[in-house]
Symmetry: C2
Subunit: 247 residues, 2 copies
């Protein structure tokens, strides 16, 4: 990856004067992808052309076309892969804090990713984009699978039965729905509130599923032990229990 790109014979002299620089291949590739990701944040992917990327990056068109000979589709897939890696990185849990604090920290990372990628995130999860293919769907599915694995590991589970898998997949879909809803409604709800809401929903959904599945009940008991009797999870469940009498 230390290869440096060849001089661009087609780059106009003006471009050269205005700052066109030879970059190592990998660095140039990353630059073009990050420019593309920035463009996808404000426009649906099908409306971003290689020419737009060339213009926004200050690289010549032939250069951009050489890096992405497969056209827009190849650029989109490369950008998606890069975004998927970045998102997966943010799933890493901070080691400190109670389980609900750790989950909150992961969600903070997730929502900063959503805020940054905005339209690109929406287009991706909503599907039906002209640049969506089996390959792009596979990338998104891989992110979901990683989220599933990480969440199960966070819950201390080695081998999840169908009911626990269902619970975690369901909660992940709630996180996605919340992110889409948040973008659609013009970010009316502060991200910190959304994070707390999702942590609470995680606890409530797990507690509810515990009534249907012994494995989930065991996992819940472990989390409640880590949270402690005055922790967020215990307080939430106590509040839910008091609701019928409250009326």
């Amino acid at each position: 990856m230390n290869e440096t790109e060849p001089a661009d014979p087609t780059a106009p002299a003006a471009k050269k004067r205005s700052g066109y620089r030879r970059l190592p291949v990998q660095q140039r590739r990353e630059q073009l992808i990050s420019v593309a990701l920035a463009l996808f944040a404000s426009r649906p992917p099908e409306e971003v052309s290689l020419d737009d990327v060339a213009e926004a990056s200050g690289a010549s068109r032939p250069l951009v076309y050489r890096y992405f000979a497969g056209g827009k589709q190849q650029l989109y897939e490369a950008a998606l892969r890069s975004a998927a890696e970045e998102l997966t990185e943010r799933f890493r849990l901070s080691v400190q804090g109670t389980p609900t604090e750790q989950l909150g920290a992961v969600l903070d990372g997730y929502f900063s990713f959503v805020a940054e990628h905005d339209a690109g995130y929406g287009a991706l999860l909503r599907g039906g984009s002209v640049v969506e293919t089996k390959r792009t769907t596979a990338i998104v599915d891989e992110v979901r699978r990683t989220a599933l694995r990480r969440t199960l590991r966070y819950m201390g589970v080695r081998e999840a039965g169908p009911r626990l898998t269902l619970l975690v997949r369901s909660w992940i879909s709630v996180v996605e729905a919340a992110a889409l809803s948040w973008l659609d409604e013009g970010r009316q709800i502060p991200p910190a509130e959304l994070r707390d809401w999702l942590v609470d929903e995680f606890v409530a959904m797990t507690a509810t599923a515990a009534g249907h599945d012994p494995q989930t009940a065991e996992v819940l008991a472990g989390l409640l032990a880590l949270e402690g009797p005055g922790g967020r999870a215990a307080l939430l469940l106590a509040r839910l229990g008091a609701l019928p009498a409250d009326r």
Copy 2:
């Protein structure tokens, strides 16, 4: 719609003998769509050709091509539209029973739809199919919007704020995730258990959201009043409240 299709000049005599019949145009169209839907239930839509539909329906190929001059894509969209209408019909609530009983009845209708359409349902919600376009995504989104409207009406809500909208959209995504997970895991969980689980998750998620939003709190109070103190919702919440002390 009383128009009868013209005699099919290309239909082989053998086919005619074996039961090829002239049908009114609308009836033939519906027959072909229902044959296509049955094929989509066991194979991804991109693997179903107009020839397959001709063979399975006993109609001649030219006849099928005349009905769907836009090819496979047109057939798929017509089938999707028909399935979407059928699903939307199943959202209609039975008038009797407590709110949780009514919700359970709607979910029964939903899962019978999922079971019937199987692979077709999965392909649709998972996206990335070669036959997926902006138009097909719009059809799916319309079903989701109808589900959102109906659920809000069921909750007695006229105008939902962003937090209540978020809650209902989230729960709908849980239903979808549950259906996909159910199909993926070879239908291990009995549909009646899945229905009860989803009803309980609805109650728990709403009760949790009530702590973050006055409108949701009001809706929950109304539902709990209809359920009564010994109803499913109240018993579930009491059980959740007892969990921290149970350990």
